[in-house]
């Protein structure tokens, strides 16, 4: 399965992004790593160009809330078929209620949202989600 990954917006957490890359490869995914400082449009375009099954966006500085608002609009502009949209990391800035964050990102159009969740737990849930979808 193909996964497009990267860090969204003005976020340079390159080590965390690399760990995600390695973890996914070890689980047998084909990874397209767009690196840090990536715009949402670039993520979507990479999914189209690679015909990826999963888009996994990460955000460590909490800026994703602003950068990912247009996901639903961008999803409506192309037939993304069975692409799974996932986001994880530290998704809020300052004192955020985790109970509110997840529904917010789901409303943006993400299928899987992980706020301050262990990487391997999140990837286990991704695999379970993909298996259930298949």
């Amino acid at each position: 399965m193909k996964v497009v990954i990267g860090v969204v917006g003005n976020d340079v957490h390159v080590v965390a992004n690399r760990l995600i890359d390695i973890s996914l490869e070890e689980r047998g995914f084909e990874v397209f790593n767009l690196g840090v400082n990536t715009y949402l449009e670039e993520f979507m375009d990479a999914v189209i160009e690679t015909d990826a099954d999963v888009l996994l966006i990460s955000s460590l500085n909490g800026e994703a809330e602003g950068w990912c608002r247009d996901l639903r609009i961008l999803k409506s502009q192309y037939d993304f078929k069975n692409v799974t949209f996932m986001i994880g990391g530290n998704l809020g800035v300052g004192e955020m209620d985790p109970q509110l964050l997840v529904p917010k990102f789901e409303a943006y159009g993400f299928d899987l949202v992980f706020h301050q969740i262990d990487l391997n737990v999140g990837l286990d849930r991704l695999e379970a989600f993909l298996e259930a979808r298949a």
């Binding site: 397209f32 715009y39 670039e42 375009d45 189209i48 160009e49 015909d51 192309y78």
Partner: protein, 391 residues
């Protein structure tokens, strides 16, 4: 035995021998060969065909239409390669929206189709074929996913298939398309009847002048008093070319070439004067610029020496504007970091240092909000090209 170097421009011949350069205004009532032989017959007779090297910018380049799957990869990569091959982009089409697009009315020299990394299937379908049926083009090249090659070969006559410009890891692979486009440009120049005749006086390949000038860039700091980073703007009768170091581009595209170029087909001051005036009039800053130069827009319609000087100043402004952050359609150069701007081509025969500096300072103040401009150097001997052709 020394060698003879000739640059055939749209307005002048430049002839270089023994480190001296002669310039001859072209007689448009004669073909290039007869005109050159008439003016430089004595010089030509001193050299064998093997010692004569010719480049030409008399033909203003090729036009292209690019159809790509996404803005961030297919179109971005193809636009970058096309510009750097000296090709003028007439239009771009984002493939998912192709049904809403109308093909350009004019004849396109080459259509470029790109989309998907290798292995991605069914990127293109009947919608592409219907669009192309309504388009007018002479060449068509496919540089997208290998899985769609068979479909396109079966359905599009004379399509050329090249290596995908998008690597399996989404990086740019420019060599195959760049070579194809450069060769096409070259073939277009050589294919012109006027240029073909020049093989009677040279046994060497005739190159395009933008290619030759670009080849000279690593040596410019040895010829002129320039400080890195710098750009070279070549403003001639038919085209305006800008040559730059890749260090000035912040596009995250990893490329092997150190220097690239853009050829603006419609910004020349003689042969493409009308389109230059049209481009100027549609620029939001031009009227302010004309006021700054103490002239009215009527000057653009005049046929006077002063009008030509103003048009040349406008060319400088427009070409800088087109590569600045204020104009998204072209490659964006980091003009804020420039230390030198070298002006070459016919413009150096007309504009004074003060006139060139005035317009560039206006651009830096008005558009970039800077209080100073880079150092301006005019290649008055027009010798940059001779270093490229000597390579």
């Amino acid at each position: 035995m020394s060698r003879l170097f000739i640059d055939v421009g749209s307005t002048y011949f430049k002839v270089s021998q023994n480190d001296s350069i002669g310039q001859y205004f072209r007689d448009f009532n004669k073909n290039i060969f007869d005109d050159l032989s008439g003016r430089c017959g004595d010089i030509l007779s001193q050299y064998t065909k093997e010692d004569v090297y010719i480049c030409s910018s008399a033909n203003g380049g090729l036009s292209t239409l690019i159809i790509g799957l996404t803005n961030s990869y297919s179109l971005k990569y193809a636009i970058n390669i096309a510009f750097n091959s000296g090709i003028n982009i007439i239009d771009t089409v984002l493939y998912p929206k192709i049904q809403r697009e109308t093909p350009p009315l004019e004849m396109i020299d080459v259509v470029i189709i790109v989309g998907g990394i290798d292995g991605v299937e069914r990127v293109f379908d009947e919608r592409l074929l219907r669009y192309l049926e309504a388009a007018h083009y002479q060449n068509i090249v496919y540089v997208g996913s290998s899985s769609d090659r068979a479909f396109l070969e079966q359905n599009i006559e004379n399509i050329v298939i090249l290596e995908n410009i998008i690597s399996p890891k989404l990086k740019i692979q420019e060599e195959a398309l760049k070579t194809y486009l450069t060769d096409l440009y070259q073939a277009d120049i050589v294919g012109k009847e006027d240029i073909k005749q020049l093989y009677a006086i040279t046994a060497n390949q005739i190159f395009s002048t933008p290619y030759i000038v670009n080849r000279a860039l690593p040596q410019v700091s040895n010829i002129l008093d320039v400080a890195d980073p710098f750009i070279v703007i070549d403003i001639g009768g038919a085209t305006t070319d800008i040559h730059y170091s890749r260090d000035l581009v912040e596009d995250n595209i990893v490329s092997q070439s150190g220097y690239d170029r853009l050829v603006f087909k419609k910004l020349g001051v003689y042969k493409s004067r009308e389109s230059l005036v049209h481009t100027a009039k549609s620029n939001e800053f031009v009227f302010e610029l004309l006021e700054h130069l103490n002239v009215t827009e009527n000057i653009l319609e005049e046929q006077s020496e002063k009008a030509t000087r103003i048009l040349m100043q406008l060319s400088i402004f427009l070409v800088l504007y087109k590569v600045s952050k204020h104009h998204a359609a072209y490659i964006e150069l980091n003009l804020e970091t420039l230390n030198s701007i070298v002006l070459t081509g016919g413009i150096t025969k007309v504009l004074s240092d003060e006139e060139a500096e005035e317009i560039i300072l206006f651009f830096y103040k008005k558009i970039l909000r800077f209080h100073r401009a880079p150092t301006i150097i005019l290649d008055r001997a027009y010798e940059i090209w001779t270093y490229g052709i000597k390579e």
